[in-house]
């Protein structure tokens, strides 16, 4: 089961990375980042079957931090929407040079 879980986790992580690199909507990007974090969580849980409870403790920390990050991240996306009336990264291009 360990190999299958790790493979699934790697697949989910890759989907997340490809999503971040190809999509242009800030919310979808954020969802892809969350997918990456949860793929990692799956790895931790699978590995903790071999290495003991440490991996599961880590998962709790990751979920807590991800929740805090979501709160801040969505607030930032709302702030940018108020300025630009869009969350598409192609419209958000004031800073360049």
């Amino acid at each position: 089961m360990l190999a299958e879980s790790l493979a699934l986790s790697a697949l989910l992580f890759t989907i997340g990375v490809v999503g971040v690199l190809t999509r242009r909507n800030a919310i979808i990007l954020f969802m892809c980042v969350e997918l990456m974090l949860n793929a990692v969580n799956l790895s931790f849980v699978a590995l903790s079957k071999v290495h003991g409870v440490g991996g599961q403790v880590f998962v709790i920390f990751v979920m807590t931090v991800a929740a805090a990050e979501a709160a801040v991240g969505l607030a930032i996306i709302i702030a940018i929407f108020r300025h630009r009336q869009s969350v598409n990264l192609e419209d958000i291009n004031l800073l360049k040079g």
Partner: protein, 509 residues
């Protein structure tokens, strides 16, 4: 005294400065939220925050002087390296708040919570400085980053600030994903999250060619590369430093980078030392690409904040040379360089902050034309910072010695990094092109007709400028004091680390 970190009481005493800062920050947050926002309120909370940071700094100095140590079995380190990084970070935070108190008026920021967020970010950095368990590293990075994401977007009236915040957040979270996956694979390969235990497991089970561990280290390197803004993972840095309020840019460029590098150094030296042949070529190339790309792109910048952002990327490259050198000498040079870099970068951003006009967020290099004729002291201070960043002898003060020790460490490295040292020197020559350009513009050009008079420089900003200039020039005249301090504080455990029994690592190019 030696702390037994498995005992909760002793663990909390080992974490005393961090706990003091966090508890104080929570109280100040209540104080900030208690009354309606106003400029006076913002000032009160700002001064209280500076007081708290000074108190924490005193505690750190006291703990550093009293020679405390801790057992290896523990999630945090109690050593000179931690105290040294704590001091750098706390100094940077005091400077940031001092600048922000006066600068907030120019950006129209009245929220008193802005200073409290700096305190939270600082507590994350202090945790990073001492973290000796990948769980604590992760928590430290996130406590720091989440606060700094908000700080970048502090100026709610500015679309540029919001954009900086969004870019920093998305790329920061993306980088965290890589870092975390790397940690998971390292945990999978070694069965440990404690940094020292990972090093032991690698040695005991001879995991030097374990594919899972190698991929894990690679992913962690990508995550760390994003956090310290090493090319090719640097794309966020110029945009974020440009859009953020200037005191926050100073905070990000100086202290956030120092803290991220400190934990990078600790993980790579204490956990992955025996994997040297596995990671050294990647870090070598990362250093080269960062130095070359940063310097070349910095040449074409018209905006001074973006120019300083590329300069901070370049200095990440120089610090990566110290990581690649992997010796006790390199860790001394690293600490010395971090101190010099933090002072100079901070000062340069302080000048940019005091040159900014009301409500203006764009800072062009052409605004500095003929500054010598209207603000001679400001121009002189800026020249000192830029020469220090360049590593110019005498006038650059401590910056020269920082680079000198770094090159020495690279040449004396067991693996032989002559080529890297040569590239370091050559790219430093390129960097003269953009640092001296600003100096030339300030001193040799006439002040253009109709250029706005710079606003008066506040007394707190003056204090920050004076302290940084005096420290840069003073340490430049007497570098031996700082060298003694950094030698004492440069991974005291490092030469005795069990990892070294494997013999010197081999690395051929």
């Amino acid at each position: 005294m030696t702390f037994d970190l498995l005992n909760p009481v002793q663990l909390s005493s080992a974490l005393l400065p961090d706990l003091l800062l966090v508890a104080g920050a929570i109280l100040l947050m209540l104080m900030a939220a208690w009354r309606p926002d106003s400029d006076a309120r913002q000032r009160t909370v700002g001064f209280a925050s500076i007081g708290l940071l000074v108190l924490t700094m005193g505690l750190v100095v006291w703990m550093a002087v009293s020679g405390l140590t801790a057992s290896d079995k523990g999630v945090i380190a109690v050593d000179g390296f931690r105290w040294m990084v704590d001091l750098v970070v706390l100094l940077g935070a005091i400077g940031t708040i001092a600048l922000a108190i006066e600068h907030n008026v120019r950006d129209g920021i009245v929220q008193a919570e802005s200073h409290v967020l700096v305190l939270f970010a600082t507590s994350g950095m202090m945790i990073l400085a001492g973290a000796r368990d990948l769980m604590v590293v992760f928590l430290g990075i996130e406590i720091m980053s989440v606060a700094v994401y908000v700080l970048a977007g502090l100026n709610r009236r500015s679309a540029r600030s919001a954009e900086a915040s969004l870019k920093y957040f998305l790329l920061g979270a993306f980088a965290t994903g890589f870092l975390l996956y790397g940690i998971a694979l390292v945990y999978g390969a070694t069965g440990q999250t404690q940094i020292v235990e990972i090093g032991n497991a690698i040695r005991r089970f001879d995991l030097t060619n374990d594919p899972m561990l190698l991929v894990g280290i690679g992913l962690m390197l990508i995550g760390m590369g994003f956090k310290v803004a090493a090319a090719p993972f640097h794309m966020w840095a110029p945009d974020v430093y440009d859009g953020s309020p200037t005191p926050i840019s100073a905070f990000m460029a100086a202290t956030v980078k120092a803290a991220a590098f400190a934990t990078f150094m600790r993980i790579w030296y204490e956990a992955f030392y025996n994997m040297f042949s596995g990671w050294a070529p990647s870090v070598w190339w990362l250093a080269v690409v960062t130095m070359v790309v940063g310097n070349v792109v910095a040449l074409s910048q018209k905006n001074i904040k973006r120019m300083l952002a590329y300069s901070s990327i370049v200095h990440s490259g120089y610090l990566l040379v110290a990581v690649t050198a992997a010796s006790a000498l390199a860790s001394t040079a690293f600490t010395f360089y971090v101190v010099a870099y933090t002072l100079a970068t901070f000062g340069a951003f302080a000048v940019v902050a005091s040159m900014q006009q009301l409500g203006e967020t764009d800072a062009r290099i052409s605004d500095y034309e003929g500054l010598w004729h209207v603000r001679p002291w400001l121009a002189t201070a800026m020249a000192v910072y830029l020469l220090a960043l360049l590593g110019f002898p005498v006038f650059g003060g401590v910056g020269f010695f920082a680079k000198w020790y770094l090159i020495q460490a690279a040449l004396a490295a067991p693996a032989g990094l002559t080529i890297l040292a040569v590239i370091l020197v050559l790219t430093s020559v390129i960097s003269a092109g953009y640092y001296l350009q600003v100096v030339r513009v300030m001193f040799m050009k006439p002040r253009p007709e109709g250029a706005p008079e710079p606003l008066p420089v506040g007394s707190l900003t003056r204090a920050v400028l004076a302290v940084t200039v005096v420290l840069i020039l003073g340490l430049g005249l007497f570098p031996s004091r700082l060298v003694e301090m950094t030698q004492m504080n440069a991974f005291p455990r490092y030469p005795f680390s069990p990892a070294l029994q494997m013999g010197q690592p081999q690395f051929r190019r």
